[in-house]
Amino acid sequence: MSDRSSYGLGRAELHELYRALTLTRAAEERLEILQKQGHVTGGLYRSLGQEAGAVGAAFALRRRDDGTGDFLAHTVRAAGALFLFGGELEDFFRQYMAKGSGPTRGREANLHWFDFQKGFVGPVSPLGTMIEIMAGITLTFRMRGEERIGMVFYGDGASSTGAWHEGLNFAAVQRCPLILMVENNQWAFSTPTHKNTRVATFADKGPGYGIGADSVDGTDVLEVFDTVRRAAALVRAGEGTRLVELRYFRRLGHAQHDPQEYVDPALIEEWEKRDPIAGYRDRMLRNEWATEEELSAIEEEVFERCRIAAESVVEEPNPDGPSAVYDVYTDLDIARPWTRAEPAVP
């Protein structure tokens, strides 16, 4: 489509997209500050250059907070989708800081969290699993005759796993209303995509499952939105499962501890020029979808929200050690260490 097309989106929606993009980046940048201050537990994952994929895709779904909307399974690189689905910024920071006040109460890391009312289910680390889970979730939509659909994100590397295949094939055969978003950022940790798959584009994988597939420039939030909107319409209309590839580039290391020495700096430079946020900003101004003032206001608002949220969450308490025994079973307590009781008796 032409640079001028807003794909039918109104000014408010175009601004909302910009807010979601900048929020993603600002939240992650704030995390880096928190990490330097020693507040972050474990690894820190950035989506720099990939923000438009998550935001554009999630924006095309029906988001509700009463358990009737579409359903999302995000990855650690899809914070933008999570925010659009109502994931709270505070919870984002709580999770990264392993706070007892966070949705997993310090038991699980970063974006690995859940809200079935808002309609999202966070990942587990073993790659591929969430396609199986989302196949089951969307199966229930079909079984119950609900109009809801699901969306699951995964990186290019995850496509090598058996879980990816078993989940996608099950969904395809059962006509589960599910869209698989392949975040093809050209790397899986240090491994280039061609060492994970021999296909040139993940769209080639669709026919192998008998499903429709699209591939889209993942740095163009409006293109992504439009592609996914059309895919979602087909899925909702009963076509079953589809796949959408997002093409972009992981501009930082796998996690903050990875200096990505294995990446040609020229490539990074090239992709910096295609920054999804800067690009969209320019386009908005060029097409007069927003004024400089409006955009600056959004940026400032988002920056402040992140600063304030982070600052308040830092103060929140860590979980209480002994709470580690709860919630292994719904109906049983697991034993506390006998060596920590008074008196200590086996």
Binding site: M143, E166, V328
Partner: protein, 348 residues
């Protein structure tokens, strides 16, 4: 959301209403009835598995279910134990209560990842309860070879968050399976295929909606000289050994049928050991890393003073399950092994 419907006499395929008619059932039929009654009672219960629909399952446990409940609730899956067990977990998130059949439990291994890492940890990770049953045939003695004969409890016994059930008879199988389906935690349910149609296990079951609580063992034989802790098919080899020991040696053997392996009923074990002072553990599964070890250390922790002899075990040997009858018979623990071990311990 779970919808509880009234229990009342239902219509259904003839062969699933034997108990309603007061007729005896095999353990397999008891399992079918449990599934059938739960599906009638609660429409959130549904089934997934290979060949469970038109074929009724490799062992015919779900024969007639597709016709009665339709394709929506009886789903023939692709051959993807990980995929459909994961899908079941997703459905459980949405408030359904899936029951997964693994055609032979040996083929649960592709689902090892999703069971241990996703399903068992769901509640702990904040993703809520996981009412999910994974059931299927286990056990040797049927000349099935290394991949149609395994017991799988020890692959999962070390997984916090799971429950593991392994019934030895029709009554327990029905009541435990109903309890498992109603449980809000994931339950692995092992059915010994050698017991499925064993004529000696046919019995008339109560025609009410009984359940057998998970986590409670049962003393299936009272005795005073020696305790045998066992489960599944070995309950019957142990009972037959106990008869011989009674008749030939005048030994009084108490037998505790664990029924649920995880969580384990420590109290029942400890109480019996305190009475007899001698403990023999019998399991069909291979030896090293078998459940006998965990039982032994719990008894050591809780009843050391009461032990009048070493805790011993009778088990399969540490090998894959061999195919030929002569090898498999050697591989498996036999009633004679139980007799020899009990005599040794009694004389200790």
């Amino acid at each position: 959301m779970t919808v509880h419907t009234q229990i009342e006499p239902v219509a259904g395929p003839e062969h699933l209403l034997k108990t309603q008619r007061g007729e005896p059932v095999t353990m397999l039929e008891a399992i079918s009835e449990a599934l059938f009654e739960e599906m009638v009672r609660d429409e959130s219960v549904f089934l997934l598995g290979e060949d469970i629909g038109v074929y009724g399952g490799a062992f015919k446990v779900t024969r007639g279910f597709l016709e009665h409940f339709g394709e929506r609730r009886v789903i023939d899956t692709p051959i993807a134990e990980g995929g459909f067990t994961g899908a079941a977990a997703g459905a459980a998130h949405m408030g359904l209560r899936p029951v997964v059949e693994i055609q032979f439990m040996d083929f649960i291994s592709p689902a090892y990842d999703v069971i241990t890492n996703y399903i068992a940890t769901s509640l702990y990770r904040g993703a809520g309860p996981m009412p999910l049953v994974i059931r299927g045939p286990v056990g040797g003695g049927n000349r099935g070879g290394p991949f149609h004969s395994q017991n799988v409890e020890m692959a999962f016994f070390h997984t916090p968050g799971l429950k593991i059930v392994y019934p030895s008879n029709a009554y327990d199988a029905k009541g435990l399976l109903k309890a498992a389906i109603r449980d809000d935690n994931p339950v692995l349910f092992e059915e010994h295929k050698g017991l499925y149609r064993a004529p000696a296990l046919r019995e008339v079951l109560p025609d009410d909606d009984y359940t057998v609580p998970l986590g409670v063992a049962k003393t299936v034989r009272d005795g005073s000289d020696l305790t045998i802790v066992t489960y599944g098919a070995m309950v019957h080899k142990s009972l037959s050994a106990a008869e011989t020991l009674d008749v030939e040696d005048g030994l009084s053997v108490e037998i505790v049928d664990l029924r649920t392996l995880l969580p384990m009923d420590d109290d029942a074990i400890v109480e019996s050991v305190k009475k007899t002072g001698k403990l023999l553990i019998v399991h069909e599964d291979t030896r090293t890393g078998g459940i006998a070890g965990e039982i032994a250390i719990r008894v050591s922790e809780k009843a050391f003073e009461w032990l009048d002899g070493p805790i011993l075990r009778v088990t399969a040997i540490d090998a894959p399950v061999p195919y030929s009858g002569s090898l498999e018979d050697y591989f498996l623990p036999q009633a004679d092994d139980v007799i020899t071990a009990a005599r040794y311990l009694a004389a200790y």
